[in-house]
Symmetry: C2
Subunit: 342 residues, 2 copies
């Protein structure tokens, strides 16, 4: 079988690798039909975060090809989607809704587990963390369902962590696939007003389709002034921080009203939280690595029914062999998110 | 009239000062019948925070003696309790539930407003931030009602900020009056288990009366080990941080489970938040200066009905003239909280 292999900064190749085998009796083997490239994969591609040499990718949708002896619920032939953090869904962290901190779980493509950009993968704790898609589902919905692996659940986590609900005014920082899904999640949760920070028309078009009511193209202090103008000087109730840089967090604290909440899902890089300001104005900071496995069952029906359609985050589809071109396109901002067909 | 005057570190005196007068038409003059000394007053007394030379104290219960022309709801003779942060209750921050960040408010005893340790005080925005106690109320309830000025509302804010509810396991860091009220607030909100960190029997006695199910006398890393033992290695759902030091926050992050929330009300001193750990484990940090004015209407009925009685936090009562002795007693940990009778 073929799979994407990370070598070093800027160096991803598609190579022949051995087929995965059942190791633990709770494993399943998945034949991957849809995968994709994540903004967070770019941290490795750009040499900003470390990745072991080997398989990469953490989003997949596919067909169960084989199951271990202790797999009870899943059956060969089931169509499944996997959360980006695999987990057992039975430990205290999973039961408390934070499967991304599963006591026995991990990330695909790390510590010698299979990455998802490839033809097949071994899935640990298959009964726990693979979610079955009804067999009759229209194939056209598969890209949307694949977003449950990561970006739709991650955008939803930002919204939930920031307490988005009806009557709330929301600002979304980050116009990548996660930020755009955060707009869609906010709309789904009933937010009254959704302000997206973006200066790229391709992305603002998707943002508007997803429910953004306002677009702010300014950055830094100017964006804060603009938000204050839009909100009678008050600031917004909820910030969905989908970037993770020092400057995006400075914008977040500038835009948030007293008592507001920042829901964050961007991996923080060099971020320091201003606790005196947080204390004085009662700014809450909640979020982290999205527990996708805890959200998939809630969100999947809304994709199946057509209530939400996150698939427009994919604006480029490539075959697996072109994976290096997909990374290049995302690195150069030529694509929002790349769908990969093994 | 007489009032407590802050001069410098360790130097509080009771002196004759001019009676307050109505300045703005929204003012009222309060004849203070109950005041008290707060743990946060000790920061000034110990020279750790700055305070202007002048009146001090921010908790009071008293009788309306005079009202300005634009005061509509309050009447002369009303018995009232005041939140420690005065506010108009009509600005966006107050309407959003964060009266402690009122656009037009402030703190008693700051910027030339009256402190509450004295015989009288001028109250700005009297209609907004003075809360009427029914005239028929038993005098024995007045100390409990005075805690609505600060400690009971602040303990409640810690609990609300940490998401305390039924089935939650809570750890309270801090055994001062606020920490003890945080225990009582957690009990009121239905917490299943309430663990109080304390090694002082007088305080643990009050904590148990308020609903603490477990007492941990260990500190630092040992307290974290103890909490893990008590919770099957998981950690607690909610931390109520009522101290504000680096070491208390380190304990908080050690004790909290993945996905748990820290509700904090202790003024943070030299605290740095470990955002990588927060991100990895989805630890939420919420809280700040308690919006007492937004809580008083909710909590007062429970004191009037006897459902909660925070008055045991007062373990020493002094006349106003003995105010310096009251500060000394609290500074030397000889009293939990001192009730002052002007």
């Amino acid at each position: 079988m073929r799979a994407g292999i990370f070598y070093k900064k800027g160096d991803i190749r598609v190579e022949e690798v051995p087929d995965p085998k059942i190791i633990d009796p709770t494993d399943a083997i998945i034949r991957i039909t849809y995968s994709c490239i994540c903004g967070s994969d770019l941290w490795y591609y750009r040499g900003l975060s470390k990745h072991e040499t080997g398989r990469i990718g953490h989003e997949m949708l596919g067909i169960v090809e084989e199951v271990g002896d202790e797999v009870k619920k899943l059956k060969v032939g089931d169509i499944v989607v996997a959360p980006f953090a695999w987990c057992d869904m039975s430990c205290p962290a999973c039961k408390n809704g934070i499967s991304s901190a599963c006591w026995h779980g991990g990330l695909w493509g790390m510590n010698h587990t299979d990455g998802c950009q490839g033809e097949k993968a071994r899935a640990p704790f298959a009964d726990g963390c693979l979610f079955v898609i009804p067999k009759k589902t229209d194939k056209a919905l598969m890209p949307a369902l694949l977003t449950l692996s990561d970006v739709m659940c991650t955008g939803h986590h930002a919204a939930v962590s920031a307490g988005v609900s009806k009557e709330k005014t929301v600002a979304v920082i980050g116009d990548g696939a996660v930020g755009l899904c955060a707009v869609l999640a906010s709309k789904r949760l009933g937010a009254k007003r959704i302000i997206l920070m973006s200066r790229h028309q391709k992305r603002t078009d998707v943002g508007k389709k997803f429910g953004a009511t306002d677009i702010i193209s300014e950055r830094g202090e100017k964006s804060v002034i603009k938000i204050k103008e839009l909100t009678d000087g008050i600031g917004v109730d909820c910030i969905l921080e989908c970037v993770g840089t020092k400057s995006s967090w400075e914008m977040a604290f500038g835009m948030i009203r007293a008592g507001g909440k920042i829901g964050y899902v961007g991996v923080p890089h060099d971020v320091e939280l201003p606790i005196p300001d947080m204390f004085r104005r009662n700014i809450g900071v909640n979020g982290g690595v999205a527990p996708a496995a805890n959200y998939i069952s809630e969100l999947m029906p809304d994709i199946l029914s057509g209530k939400i359609d996150p698939s427009p985050v994919f604006d480029l589809t490539i075959p697996l062999d072109k994976l290096p071109d997909g990374y290049k396109a995302m690195d150069e901002h030529k694509a929002i998110k790349v769908l990969v067909r093994p």
